[in-house]
């Protein structure tokens, strides 16, 4: 890029100032929240000296602790299941033509674009009807709780995972997979040693996105949760409606920290997977470029 297109003079000053203001806008509220979570004053609007009291309150608050564990369990469970289902769906859509493909593709996009409130309403009505049927047919008096929350989270996470994995698959040539199959690798081995190492960054990215979305969701969870179990955001949302307290400040800062750790992880992972260090892929590439030797030699290469 030549330097002449760089904004100059007053334009440059204005643009720079504007950018700093945008960052101020982004981070000022977060900064104030963090600072006041350490303030030793019951009135949230006053600075009363440094304290860790509110963090201790958080640790000792039974309901909050329960909500944290519900959140973590729901997030992990829904992420694992949606990563498996979403990756399979991505593979099917990117690599195969099959009947019903278009309908499936559209169905897979819907949970992404549907408004949270609509999906929340869907879950409320569905579980109301579903539990009625369970009771009248099996005599099982099911309650909304961990299970229904997890089911609803998987329902939106599958789509996000599959979009991320598909993006990765779409940018990937099928040549390596065809080569592996030509060289007598089974379908499973081709997936395990050729496809999977290549889509791994996409799968990991999808998993992190699913984790974040599951940990963030308020609206859908609120309608899928029952008296038995609520997640941390839903519980905190209930608290906020009753007013601002130092305890919520401390809880929010901890939730913030969790998000930042997740971002850091995803960035670190992108960096890590950007470099080489995937022997199986290298072997496969060599196998494609070099004329085949013997079957065993190539198998050794793939298995490296």
């Amino acid at each position: 890029m030549s330097s002449t297109v760089q904004p100059r003079g007053s334009t440059k000053i204005a643009l720079t100032a504007h950018s700093w203001l945008v960052y101020l806008f982004f981070f000022a509220p977060i900064f104030v929240l963090i600072v006041f979570s350490f303030s030793d004053d019951n009135n949230v609007g006053r600075w009363g000296g440094f304290t860790l009291e509110w963090y201790q309150d958080f640790v000792e608050h039974n309901q909050l602790q329960n909500a944290v564990w519900v959140s973590v369990r729901v997030a992990l469970l829904s992420t694992v299941i949606s990563v498996v289902l979403g990756t399979l769906a991505a593979l099917a859509l990117e690599r195969f033509k099959f009947r019903g493909r278009k309908v499936f593709d559209a169905l897979l996009y819907l949970p992404i674009i549907i408004p949270d409130v609509t999906m929340a309403v869907m879950m409320l009505l569905f579980f109301a009807e579903f539990f009625d049927i369970l009771e009248s047919v099996f005599g099982w008096d099911a309650q909304k709780g961990l299970g229904s929350i997890t089911i609803s989270h998987i329902a939106f996470n599958i789509s996000f995972v599959s979009v991320v994995v598909r993006a990765r698959l779409a940018g990937m040539s099928e040549v390596l997979e065809e080569a592996a199959l030509d060289l007598y690798a089974t379908r499973w081995k081709t997936f395990r040693y050729v496809t999977f190492p290549q889509i791994m960054p996409g799968v990991a990215g999808g998993a992190l996105l699913a984790l974040t979305l599951s940990l963030d969701d308020v609206v859908i969870t609120q309608f899928a949760a029952g008296p038995g179990a609520t997640t941390l955001p839903v519980f905190v949302f209930g608290l906020i409606r009753r007013g601002v307290t130092p305890l919520i400040n401390a809880t929010s800062v901890l939730m913030l920290a969790a998000s930042v750790i997740l971002v850091a992880l995803s960035l670190a992972f992108q960096q890590f997977s950007g470099r080489g260090g995937r022997p199986s892929l290298r072997a496969a590439r060599e196998a494609v470029s070099a004329p085949p030797k013997t079957n065993t030699q190539i198998k050794e290469g793939i298995n490296q």
């Binding site: 289902l85 099959f98 019903g100 499936f104 309403v121 009505l125």
Partner: protein, 303 residues
């Protein structure tokens, strides 16, 4: 598949791809694809398509006297109720706030995205990371942070007095809701805008300036048309969630600023008029579908 003339003898039957053979392979691939998609397919049908159908059925149902829902005898009463003044006001207010939010985001994000796109790669990545952090941060927490900031007399009142704005209460007003929405969805505008500006060959800007176009003319005739896909993508990504926003108005808005999202939730939790809530959710979804179609039409898929 072309036939090779000097094919070794004896291979005629086995290794040649006859139409039947190809069809069989196609069928096998089709079966494999279907089987791979089956778990997710079945899951989404059961836990997404069926619930959507149930909402549709409820939107045609009638509320009975006890707050329950009578599913027999379908009618359009719930949809007719959308024309009533109360509901219409809420619909228009939500539309107006969503449009305002989108416009503010666009005006704020465009110069910002342009500035990022013209930095060196290192600075650019650093700047993007600092956009991504609020983007990934818990939405509820981000809204709550504004509640703390706007409700902080000590800090906020002092600042607004210092700026000569006088003593102003912002919390629980429509302005607070718009601030919260802009804050929540600004990254959705910045990222697609950045993606489309970054792709523009900036020597075109240079050429335009060389040919004595003013800065504004260059923006109007060169930059803006070339970055239009980003403008459309960002606008839809901001407009759509703003329209259905529930958390932000609940935390930052007051009683006078009921928006569509809150109104729908109220229909289910307190007013117990499920058909009206269901029909409104359906209308909301229809708006999203139209917006998404526009998004894909304009090549949003590439962003």
């Amino acid at each position: 598949m072309t036939m090779v003339a000097d094919r070794p003898e004896g291979l005629e039957e086995a290794a040649v791809a006859t139409p039947e053979f190809e069809k069989a392979a196609e069928r096998a691939a089709s079966r494999r694809g279907f089987l791979l998609s089956l778990p997710a397919y079945a899951y989404l049908v059961l836990f997404f398509a069926v619930p959507l159908g149930i909402v549709m059925i409820y939107s045609f149902a009638t509320r009975n006297r006890f707050g329950g829902t009578d599913l027999s005898g379908w009618n359009l009463d719930a949809y007719r109720k959308l024309g009533e003044p109360i509901v219409r006001d809420i619909l228009f207010r939500s539309l107006w706030l969503a449009l305002l939010t989108t416009l503010i985001c666009l005006v704020v994000a465009y110069p910002f995205a342009y500035f990022i796109a013209t930095r060196t790669p290192l600075v650019r990545n650093l700047m993007l990371v600092f956009v991504m952090i609020p983007f990934w941060t818990n939405f509820l927490v981000r809204n709550y942070a504004w509640r703390v900031l706007l409700g902080n007399d000590w800090l906020f009142t002092n600042i607004s007095e210092a700026l000569g704005l006088g003593e102003r209460e912002l919390l629980f007003t429509t302005s607070a809701v718009v601030i919260g929405l802009v804050y929540g969805f600004l990254p959705f505008m910045v990222l697609p805008l950045y993606a489309s500006i970054e792709r523009i060959d900036l020597s075109l800007v240079e050429a335009s300036r060389d040919l004595y176009a003013s800065g504004f003319q260059t923006f109007r005739r060169v930059l803006l048309p070339l970055s239009l896909p980003g403008v459309i993508a960002g606008s839809i990504l901001v407009f759509v969630p703003s329209l259905g926003a529930y958390v932000t108005p609940e935390i930052l808005g007051g009683a006078k600023t009921t928006l569509l999202g809150s109104y729908i939730v109220t229909q289910f939790l307190t007013a117990r008029n499920w058909p009206v809530g269901a029909s409104l959710s359906f209308v909301l979804m229809a708006v999203m579908l139209v917006a998404t179609l526009v998004y894909f039409r304009t090549g949003g898929r590439n962003l």
